[in-house]
Amino acid sequence: MENERETARSARKASGRFAAVASAVMREYGIVVAFVILFVILALASSYFLTERNLLNVLQQTAVNGLLAIGMTFVILTGGIDLSVGSILAFSGVVSASFASSANFGHSSPAIVAILFGLLSGLVLGMVNGVLVARWRVPAFVVTLGMLSIARGLTFIYTNGMPIPNIESQFLFIGQGFVARIPFAVIVFAFVYIVAWVVLYRTRFGRYVYAVGGNEKSARISGVNTRLIMFVVYGISGILAGLGGIILTARTTAGLPQAGTSYELDAIAAVVIGGASLAGGQGKLVGTLFGALIIGVINNGLDLLHVSSYYQQVIKGLIIIGAVLLDSLRKKEE
């Protein structure tokens, strides 16, 4: 009799301990767990999902959104938002295409020139955002909403509304090439992620980003140049949108003025699913990574399961809301 009670008690203690560990894991790595579960479900649901070709495809599709999301992370961490990344992506895309193709200027330039101009255009537009937000104190929502239209308009003006075809193959490598079976675009993304991680977590600038988002007044009193920080993050978002535009253009083989429409929504979704707070000061870069992966995997998986894209949109929206809801419920418990 005693033995049974002892066993029952230690079993309850063990399950209690397990529950405590499990909840601690969920708290810290909830999003990773969610991703793993999602992955397993899709692997079981479709026999094609787990193939090398498909997984590489997922990574490649995620790379562009991932780049935008990294830039968006910096912006959101300071308590801002950038609605213009999709349009900046398009503008940079067509600018780089115009150099990488002979169709525009009558001759094509080396890929490196095209890339530089693409990045530069993204950077410049981002800096315009930055000046308006940081120096002129216009709310980020309003500034980037305006830039969304302006950049898109500039894109159509620059291309006369028509795609820029015939891009040199040297340039196409960026979007379509492979290095040791891994898509080059994915390598670019990985590289940018690592740099972003180092900047955010190992430099003074990164600390200041969190401080400005967490409490701008306190940061300012501590001597942080809050305006400079806010200016720079929009530049980062712009240049990464530029990089995304270059990769997308290389992949689609043409500079398309309508590219990137609504891409900002996926970028914001990735950051938000990743656990960042739109108020600023909270969120981890790795969260954004998994947020982007979750979106990429869902898009891919639902395609494989032949779910219509209309339903896909509904599902994506539900996941965004669900992820943030879960997160706030979890926080409320604390």
Partner: protein
């Protein structure tokens, strides 16, 4: 004090992730009495109060209001049962006016659901008069000083006409005159059969007003006694669990050369023609009532809001201070009056908060030396005795006193030469106060110039070598430590 029991709480326990905030705590409140709740920071006072007003739910225990068992799901429910609170943390909507904040949710309506503004303002003025706050009810909270906001909070709690009013550090931002008014109000309430739960670190106030005192320590109930049967030493030892030597050794500090000189500093509408000098190794106290311009002057000194005319000289050289980083570069540090608003970045960790103002010391070419940072932060945390499970803990989870120490640590890290402290021990318990006082004294001894602004007279006396009194934006006078008395300071300040 009658025999009617308004509130009876028994065996209350509450756990948060990682910490048992309350364990088996009990409290009994009689009608027409003032019941003080004392304890060091982190003892569980605020947690207990938040449970009583329905903001948190207890894990265990029973609460009865006038005999009826209750388990509040929201502060609204608690209000309906006759419990209101003046919180230590200010709960105001800064963009709205006093009147809108005061009666939020219970506005006077006309037949159609529009707010009757005339009636709203009349009601508000009536409530403000009870606490002696003479401000237009149409003023936005954003434009009030901290002291005025605190008075407003008191007025708002009183306007509910509750049986039980909980006051959590209600005088932390108030000057002497406002405090007297509050005590008048409390006595009046007591005579009408209402009860007050008074949570405070200011033991003089506790002994003055309370009938009963309950002491908590580390989430546990240490004891409940009639106020008359306790003295200050006994109360402190109950709170701290050990005998505390209260005397502050004021060393005979030799004043060194002039380190700061302010000449005719002026900002219209805030302060006028302020001139003072600070020497190395000296602690200069600044005393003044609400609205005297002290904090505004400090903001000017630190470059938060530039002065309009006048000059500042550091070590004899004229200094242009137009933003905080200018002041920092000249070796000035500023611990602000409100740590939550302007001293801390709440979502960030202890480590990040302590190092943020001194990252230049820890970085080479922009890259942080995280190992150096970690050991430096840990050393500061240990030397200031900051209680935290780890330096990765977000500061929002620390108690008020420990948060204040984090702000102090941040500025000490910048190795300043001039340290400005605005209400440095606001919301901090007795034990920690002593620690901070001795730290400040040690600092002065190692040659820093220190300015302490405080509305707590004992604090100003304990720390200062000289006291400058502000009144209505000007300097009313200067008093040496030896000649300083309460009457003299008050006389100059009013």
């Amino acid at each position: 004090m009658t025999e009617t029991i308004l509130l009876s709480a028994k065996g209350i326990s509450k756990r948060f992730p990682g910490v048992q905030a309350l364990q088996d705590v009990s409290l009994t409140l009689h009608a027409g009495s003032v019941h003080a709740l004392c304890g060091e920071n982190g003892a569980g006072k605020s947690t207990l109060m938040n449970i009583l007003i329905g903001l948190y739910r207890r894990d265990e225990g029973e609460i009865r209001i006038k005999g009826e068992q209750v388990n509040f799901a929201s502060p609204r429910e608690a209000l309906r049962h006759g419990i209101s609170i003046i919180d230590q943390e200010l709960n105001v909507i800064t963009e709205m006016t006093i009147a809108e904040n005061m009666f939020l949710g219970r506005e006077p309506e006309r037949p159609v659901p529009f707010i009757d503004r005339a009636v709203l303002h009349k009601w508000t003025t009536e409530q403000l008069e009870r606490v002696g706050l003479d401000v237009d009810p149409r003023t936005k909270i954003r434009n009030l000083s901290l002291a005025q906001i605190q008075l407003f909070e008191i007025a708002r709690a009183l306007s509910h006409d509750s049986d039980i009013i909980i006051m959590d550090e209600p005088t932390s931002a108030l000057g002497e005159r406002e405090v007297e008014k509050l005590f008048e109000v409390i006595s009046l309430l007591r005579s009408k059969g209402r009860s007050i739960i008074y949570v405070s670190h200011k033991l003089e106030e506790v002994f003055r007003m309370a009938d009963t005192i309950t002491v908590l320590r580390d989430g546990r109930h240490v004891g409940t006694e009639e106020a008359g049967s306790l003295d200050r030493a006994k109360l402190i030892s109950m709170m701290v669990g050990r005998k505390l030597d209260e005397s502050v050794a004021k060393s005979g500090r030799l004043n060194g050369p002039e380190i700061l000189s302010v000449d005719h500093l002026t900002r219209l509408g805030e302060y006028n023609d302020i001139s003072l000098k600070l020497h190395k190794g000296e602690i200069l106290g600044i005393f003044g009532l609400m609205g005297s311009g002290r904090s505004e002057f400090l903001n000017g000194l630190f470059g938060i809001k530039r002065a309009e005319s006048g000059s500042i000289a550091i070590d004899g050289h004229e200094a242009r201070i137009e933003k905080p980083s200018d002041a920092k570069r000249l070796g000035i540090a500023y611990v602000t009056e409100d740590r939550k608003l302007s001293g801390l970045v709440l979502p960030c960790s202890v480590r990040e908060n302590v190092s943020v103002a001194a990252l230049q010391k820890l970085a080479r070419g922009g890259i942080l030396n995280t190992r150096k940072e970690k050991s430096a932060v840990q050393k500061l945390v240990a030397s200031l005795n900051i209680k935290t499970p780890s330096i990765r803990q977000p500061v929002r989870y620390l108690s008020g006193g420990n948060q204040q120490k984090v702000v102090l640590a941040k500025w000490l890290f910048t190795e300043p030469r001039i340290l400005i402290l605005d209400e440095p021990t606001r919301g901090i318990d007795v034990g920690a106060k002593r620690e901070i006082y001795s730290l400040i004294a040690k600092f002065a001894e190692s040659g820093y110039g220190i300015i302490v602004v405080s509305s707590e007279m004992p604090e100003i006396f304990a720390l200062s070598d000289r006291i400058i009194v502000f009144r209505e934006g000007r300097i009313a006078g200067e008093v040496g430590a030896a000649d300083a008395t309460q009457e003299r300071l008050l006389h100059l300040a009013s």
